[in-house]
C-alpha cells in the first residue's frame, strides 16, 4: 500500500525554522514505522536523522511522536496506525538537535538524581541475598524500564515544567525503593518528596499510555506518593 509520511524536520545548520517534509512511498502493512523511516533515509533522503539500534523495542533509542502519540518507531506497525497518512515528530519537552533527535541530557540528569543504583552497605552474604518470589514481584514492573523517555516526554507537566523529574526517574527510583534488599529507600523518598518530585504528578496517565514496556507508571508513582506519605506520618 501507499503511505504518506509527514515528518517534522529541522537541521540547525541549514534551516531557520522546523518544517514539515512529506514523503510518499510504498509500504507493507507489517512494516514497522522504523522500517519506513529507514526506507526514506536509504532511498529518498539520506539526511533524515533519527536514533535507533535494536529495532525490536529493547534499547529505547527511537521514541518519537507518531500520529500524535509517543511510541517507539520499532514497535508500531503500519497496520496499527489505521490510515495511510503518518505524522512523525520529535518527542516534546526536550530541545531538538536535528530532525527527530533531541537532547537527552536533562532526561538522564533527572534519572541520575534519584540515585538509580543498589544501596546496601552491609557485609554481603557468601551466596546470594535471599528474596522471596513475592518480594521480587513487588518491583517487577519497574525493572522493565528501558529509559526510552516515551513517558516523561508525554507528560503535560513535563512539557511546561522541565524541572519535574518526570515519570521515568520515578519508575527507576521505585525499582529500588521497593526492593527488599535495598537500604537507600529513605534517601530516595526524600529526593522525591519535593515539588520537583512525585508531587508534581497530576495523574494525567499519558505516561502509562505511552510506555512501550507496559509499566503501570501512574500506579507506580502513586505507590511512591503513598510510601512518602506513610513514612512521614
Amino acid at each position: 500500500m501507499q503511505a504518506v509520511f509527514k515528518i517534522h524536520r529541522f537541521n540547525p545548520e541549514k534551516d531557520k525554522k522546523p518544517y514539515w517534509a512529506e514523503y510518499t512511498l510504498e509500504v507493507d502493512a507489517k512494516d514497522r514505522v522504523l522500517d519506513v523511516l529507514h526506507k526514506i533515509k536509504w532511498e529518498i533522503d539520506g539526511s533524515l536523522s533519527f536514533r535507533r539500534s535494536c529495532a525490536h523495542g529493547i534499547c529505547g533509542s527511537d521514541a518519537m511522536l507518531i500520529n500524535g502519540k509517543n511510541r517507539l518507531a520499532c514497535k508500531v506497525l503500519m497496520m496499527d496506525l489505521g490510515g495511510n497518512t503518518v505524522t512523525v515528530e520529535p518527542i516534546r519537552g526536550l530541545s531538538v538537535e536535528k530532525d527527530l533527535i533531541v537532547d537527552m541530557t536533562p532526561f538522564f540528569e533527572s534519572y541520575e538524581a534519584v540515585m538509580p543504583f543498589f544501596i546496601n552497605d552491609d557485609a554481603m552474604p557468601a551466596r546470594e541475598h535471599l528474596q522471596s518470589p513475592e518480594d521480587r514481584e513487588i518491583y517487577d514492573a519497574s525493572t522493565k524500564c528501558i529509559l526510552c523517555a516515551c513517558c516523561t516526554t508525554s507528560c503535560p507537566i513535563f512539557w511546561v515544567n522541565g524541572s519535574y523529574l518526570g515519570p521515568a526517574a520515578i519508575v527507576q527510583a521505585h525499582r529500588f525503593i521497593f526492593d527488599s534488599r535495598d537500604k537507600g529507600g529513605a534517601a530516595r523518598l526524600a529526593m522525591l518528596n519535593q515539588n520537583t518530585g512525585v508531587w508534581r504528578c497530576r495523574t494525567a496517565y499519558n505516561c502509562t499510555e505511552a510506555c512501550p514496556r507496559d509499566i503501570p507508571i501512574t500506579d507506580v508513582i502513586g505507590q511512591v506518593k503513598r510510601a512518602i506519605l506513610y513514612s512521614n506520618t
Binding site: 511522536l65 500520529n67 500524535g68 502519540k69 503535560p156 497530576r202 495523574t203 494525567a204 496517565y205 499510555e209
Partner: protein, 127 residues
C-alpha cells in the same frame, strides 16, 4: 495536540475549572462581602448579577464546580484506594455524567428565570 486519552483531558479540565472557579470565588467574595460597605455599594456591585452574559456564565461556573468536585473525588479515589487507578477511565466518565447532571439541574432551574417568555414551565423551586 498530543493524542492523550481520558487522563490527559481529565487533568486539563481539572486545571481549567480549578482556575476558573478560583477567579469566580474571588469575585463572588468581593461582591457578596460588599454588603458590609452598605446597601448602595452592594447594589452597585450586584448589578453585575443581572447581566445576561454573567447569568449564563454562572451556569457554566456551576458546571465547572461540579466537574472539579467530582473529578476531585476521582483523584482522591486514585490516590487512596486499591481500585481507583484501575477504574480511572470509568470514574472520569462518571464524574462527567455527574457534572453534566448537576449542570442540567442548574439549567433547568434557571432557564425560566433567565428567559421567562420562552421557558414558561414552573420548576419546583419557582422562579
Amino acid at each position: 495536540m498530543y493524542k492523550g486519552r481520558e487522563g490527559q483531558w481529565a487533568f486539563f479540565l481539572h486545571r481549567l475549572s480549578g482556575v476558573a472557579i478560583l477567579l469566580y470565588l474571588i469575585l463572588h467574595t468581593v461582591s457578596i462581602g460588599s454588603t458590609m460597605l452598605g446597601e448602595e455599594v452592594y447594589g452597585a456591585v450586584h448589578k453585575l448579577y443581572e447581566l445576561m452574559p454573567f447569568r449564563l456564565g454562572l451556569i457554566g461556573v456551576a458546571g465547572a464546580v461540579a466537574y472539579h468536585a467530582f473529578n476531585g473525588l476521582r483523584i482522591v479515589a486514585m490516590d487512596f484506594t486499591s481500585w481507583g487507578v484501575k477504574y480511572q477511565r470509568q470514574l472520569w466518565y462518571a464524574a462527567l455524567v455527574m457534572a453534566a447532571l448537576f449542570m442540567l439541574l442548574t439549567l433547568y432551574a434557571n432557564l425560566p428565570r433567565l428567559f421567562p417568555d420562552i421557558f414558561t414551565y414552573k420548576t419546583i423551586w419557582g422562579r
